[in-house]
């Protein structure tokens, strides 16, 4: 029997005014998993997280965390959820020590070792004024404040946003170091797959507020294919085919990215009578960009257009 999901989202829809931000989203996050919540900016990741934590109301549908309705999360349940909002806000007038004490006063459990380990990792000292910290240090302090209560569920909203690569790496390292417990669930949003692939064992992709992918990282990589079709002359128009994400035409090439390719896809490609069809290995980042990027045909240096 599958254990009860830590997070359960059921047909969630959210409007801002008359604009639909999330559309009919359903998702279950089992315990012990690390979910990467992906999508471009403005696709509904933060809104979903805010609804999950009861900070906003859904327009329709519902969500539960640890079996409790998100709109009525009790303080006890909140204590089991660590939440790191984007922006890494700290009270600028407090010292690092005061920040820790302030945060600790709310939680039934507080692991000072974790707090100190993380702040040391970010080269922070107790007496530093948080208003004078760099962005990366602030992110580290926020992470320490989130991890020290040892939450069972960690919800991180774009934790690496705005950080340089070193700080980003440092943040992810400490997060993984501290959270390597099999019973800990992590939901962590980002618009960069490179962040997620180091950490997540499963990804969820939101595009235009609609759930487009819910799979492991490996499956995501496997299910996306990039083909380069070479032609002697001007390539023919790209045919309609299921799963086509984007096509890129040059003078004598068509580069296609296809989701869920099968025998029918390859038959369709062969029907274009190319000189050669080369499946090209995609990096995960490229695959993700194709997946959430603009759909349809793009062209570059086409002879007819140049002549015009």
């Amino acid at each position: 029997m599958n254990p009860a999901p830590v997070i359960e989202i059921d047909h969630l829809t959210k409007y801002y005014g008359k604009r639909e931000i999330i559309r009919d989203l359903s998702l279950k996050v089992p315990p012990g998993s690390i979910y990467g919540f992906l999508g471009r900016n403005g696709m509904g990741k933060t809104t979903t997280i805010r609804i999950l934590l009861g900070l906003e109301d859904p327009t329709r549908g519902s969500s539960t965390v640890f079996g409790e309705d998100s709109r009525k999360l009790s303080p006890e349940t909140r204590a089991r959820i660590g939440y790191l909002p984007e922006g890494h806000h700290v009270y600028g007038w407090m010292t690092v020590r005061e920040c820790g004490r302030f945060q600790a006063s709310f939680f039934p459990k507080w692991n000072q070792d974790i707090f100190e380990t993380v702040i040391t990792h970010f080269r922070l000292t107790d007496k530093m004024k948080t208003g004078h910290l760099s962005r990366g240090q602030r992110a580290g302090l926020c992470l320490a404040l989130t991890l020290a209560p040892e939450p069972e569920l960690l919800v991180l909203d774009d934790p690496a946003l705005g950080l340089d690569p070193v700080a980003r790496r440092s943040l992810l390292q400490s997060m993984l170091y501290v959270t390597r417990r099999p019973d800990r669930t992590i939901l962590f949003s980002s618009h960069l797959l490179s962040d997620v692939e180091r950490v997540a064992d499963r990804i969820v992709v939101l595009d235009g507020g609609v759930l487009r992918a819910d799979c492991t990282v490996e499956t995501f990589r496997e299910r996306l294919r990039h083909y380069v079709l070479k032609f002697r002359d001007t390539p023919p128009p790209t045919p309609e085919m299921p799963g086509l994400l984007e096509s890129f035409r040059t003078d004598n090439e068509i580069a296609l990215t296809v989701a869920n390719p099968d025998a029918e896809t390859e038959a369709s490609l062969a029907g274009l009578h190319p000189e050669s069809v080369n499946p090209v290995e995609m990096t995960l980042e490229d695959a993700f960009v194709s997946y959430v990027g603009e759909r349809g045909e793009k062209s570059f240096f086409i002879k007819e257009q140049t002549r015009k």
Binding site: R60, D201, F220
Partner: protein, 699 residues
């Protein structure tokens, strides 16, 4: 909770200290500021020390501004999405977070407002700072303002938390507080003001708490929060009405008044003087003919009238009717302390009457200290324990002389000489009242006291010497309102004038058709001339459109509720409430009926519109009825609340039937279809049965 209070305190202490310094400086300036620099304001026209208009201006606006700013500074900077989310996600209830903020905020507000006020009170109360007395009641106006500022603090909290437009629903808490300010500064009774402030603070506090629990939808808030929020919107609409009234008053049509009165000129000629908006527009004789003499032209006549005490009191009514009563106002220091209007300059000492203590106190102007007292035992040293004058003991003043009419005798007091005499009355009491009259001839002037007795008026000079007795020649039962004047100067009065006016106990309609009489008498009380003064047209005022409209669009719940409250009050023995109700159902009956009709019709019409509108935008049947009832009770203010505060559904075209349907409903109210699932593109990658991998295993 302690951590939250500590955090709020530390975060906002600088603002509270800044406000304290600013408010303190402003209060000190107002306290020591004089209207005419270098001169003593011996009349204390704008009030005494902490009751001065300038000082109260600072406490009124200053406390409100401090409350408002502190509330906004506590919430707005933290309201950025991520910061607010971090605050709310802490494992404490939102109610606790709200309580922590409010408790800290109240402490900060008290720190900003109370010490400067206490300093002002100490300066006003301790000897050596001002040549004016201090009574504890003088603290009330400032205390009311600090309480009102506290309401602004709650308003700021509720306003900042509410998710809406600043020019929309968000403004209503502050408008509600503004309505309270209008009430606090215009109402006479302190306890009524305190009640109103407590109720408004409670409404705003509960509304703010409920908004903290649920910022988006009204219907998701606890019932008390909903009720409080609707009360805030209602009073906000009233505040909007107050602002509109003020604007209308400034730019709308002016209210004109017209009044006619009888006077006697300094040559003994009866005059009929008509004023419009307090400006004399015509002066005629009793037959209505204008005078050709330049001194009776409208612009000149004021300097040629006998002062007959006609503005301050009537005397001589054997029915004991006193139409003019001093209306106590808690914001006016005259409610607690009367400054005796002596006109001898320069003056070294200033006398005051302490209303509650019922005694007089004298201050040495140059040294700012009390030097003498006058009470039931006579003159006393300043530090003597006062013995109050009896409640029935009235007094009148001329310069620095006072008269105390008793039941059977009267005392004449000279304040500078500290002496008192009690001359015999020309006939046995009772004394029905005392008046003063004044006459100036060239550089010489004279003032007298007139004492209304049963058969005539005894006239005394200021030192208590009987000048004459003027016998009555009219039916004193029906013409019992007397005014007295004289022509004379120095110590010699030549002619006396008595005006007999219809008694106040006679009903208004009968009185308006009765003539008055004027008698001229010599120093022996012999009548030289009698004039019959025809009834004057009643005081006329053009329509005040501001009040006319406001009364007709008021809430039926409050209009009829107020009458019910007055009725209950009257039954329970409140004379004030009983009189108010009697006036509404008596002399104002016609107006009351008309207002009831307007209020009822408008409410019913708006309630009908509300129901139809609510159903059109797919409010549920029960919600539509609830709002209809609300509008029926609260009229236009209720309608504004319905439009702004209700959870107005967003409508989009139904994919099934194309009619408008609310986005929050799962099924279309027209065709019953649900919402279609997002169309599949063929690019979806779903793998629902993936096994959860322990955290960190992939690294």
């Amino acid at each position: 909770m302690k951590s939250l209070i500590w955090k709020e305190w530390r975060e906002n202490l600088k603002w509270a200290l800044l406000a304290m310094v600013a408010l303190g400086a402003a209060e000190m300036y107002a306290l020591y500021h004089t209207q005419y620099p270098g001169q003593l304001d011996i009349y204390h026209t704008s009030g005494i020390t902490i009751c001065k208009k300038e000082f109260l201006m600072v406490t009124t606006f200053g406390s409100a501004a401090v409350g408002l700013l502190l509330g906004l500074l506590q919430i707005l900077p933290e309201l950025r999405k991520d910061q607010w989310a971090a605050l709310l996600h802490r494992p404490v209830s939102r109610g606790v977070i709200f309580a922590g903020k409010v408790l800290a905020g109240l402490l900060l507000y008290a720190l900003a407002t109370v010490p400067p006020f206490l300093l002002s009170v100490w300066l006003a109360a301790s000897p050596g700072h001002f040549a004016t007395p201090f009574v504890p009641d003088m603290v009330l106006p400032g205390a009311a303002d600090i309480g009102t500022g506290c309401v602004y603090y709650f308003a700021a909290i509720a306003m900042a938390l509410q998710r809406d437009k600043w020019a929309g629903l968000k403004a209503f808490p502050v408008l509600a507080a503004l309505h309270l300010s209008y009430f606090v500064t215009s109402n006479d009774l302190f306890y009524v003001v305190v009640e109103a402030a407590i109720l408004m603070a409670l409404a705003l506090l509960v509304a703010g708490w409920a908004t903290m629990l649920h910022q988006e939808k009204l219907h998701a808030r606890p019932w008390a929060g909903k009720a409080a929020f609707l009360a805030v919107v209602f009073y906000g609409a009233c505040g909007m009405g107050d602002v509109a009234k003020s604007i209308f008053e400034a730019v709308g049509p002016a209210v004109h008044s017209r009044n006619s009165e009888y006077y006697v000129s300094d040559k003994g000629v009866p005059l009929r003087v008509t004023t419009e908006d307090n400006v004399t527009v015509s002066v005629t004789d009793l037959d209505g003919k204008p005078f050709s003499d330049s001194q009776y032209q409208p612009g000149q006549v004021r300097s040629h009238l006998l002062y007959m005490n006609s503005f301050s009191s009537y005397i001589g009514d054997s029915h004991g009717w006193h139409p003019w009563r001093f209306q106590p106002r808690y914001r006016d220091s005259r409610d607690f302390i009367w400054s005796l209007n002596a006109y001898d300059h320069p003056r070294f000492e200033q006398w005051f009457f302490l209303v509650n203590e019922r005694s007089f106190v004298c201050y040495l102007v140059a040294e700012n200290k009390a030097v003498a007292k006058l009470d039931a035992r006579g003159f006393q040293p300043a530090l003597a324990e006062p013995m109050p004058l009896p409640p029935e003991c009235d007094w009148s003043e001329i310069g620095d002389h006072l008269i105390f009419p008793g039941g059977k005798s009267a005392s004449f007091v000279s304040l500078p000489l500290r002496t008192s005499t009690e001359p015999p009355l020309p006939e046995p009491g009772p004394i029905f009242g005392v008046s003063t009259a004044y006459c100036q001839k060239g550089n010489e002037s004279m003032a007298v006291f007139g004492m209304a007795l049963s058969r005539g008026m005894a006239v005394y000079d200021r030192k208590g010497a009987l000048l004459t007795t003027l016998p009555y020649h009219q039916d004193m039962d029906r013409w019992g309102q007397l005014e007295m004047g004289f022509i004379g100067a120095g110590n010699l009065a030549e002619h006396f004038y008595l005006i007999y006016q219809p008694s106040e106990w006679i009903d208004k309609n009968t009185r308006s058709s009765m003539p008055s009489y004027l008698e001229e008498m010599d120093v022996h009380g012999q009548v030289l001339h009698t004039w019959t003064l025809p009834p004057l047209p009643p005081y006329h005022q053009s329509r005040n459109w501001k009040d006319f409209i406001a009364k007709r669009i008021q809430s039926p719940a409050f209009f009829f509720g107020n009458m019910g409250y007055q009725k209950i009050g009257a039954i329970l023995g409140s004379k004030r409430l009983g009189n108010d109700l009697a006036r509404q159902l008596g002399q104002d009956r016609r107006q009351t009926r008309e207002i009831s009709l307007y209020v009822a019709c408008l409410s019913v019409a708006l309630a009908g519109i509300t129901f139809l509108w609510a159903r059109r935008v797919h409010f549920s049947q029960s919600r539509a009825w609830a709002w209809t009832a609300f509008v029926l009770l609260f009229n236009i203010a209720g309608f504004i609340a319905f439009r702004l505060a209700s959870d107005w559904p967003r409508l989009v075209a139904c994919p099934g039937c194309r009619s408008k349907r609310p986005i929050h409903e799962n099924e279309c109210p027209e065709c019953g279809t649900g919402w279609p699932a997002p169309p599949a593109e063929g690019t979806e990658i779903m793998e629902h049965n993936a096994r959860a991998v322990p955290a960190g295993a992939g690294v």
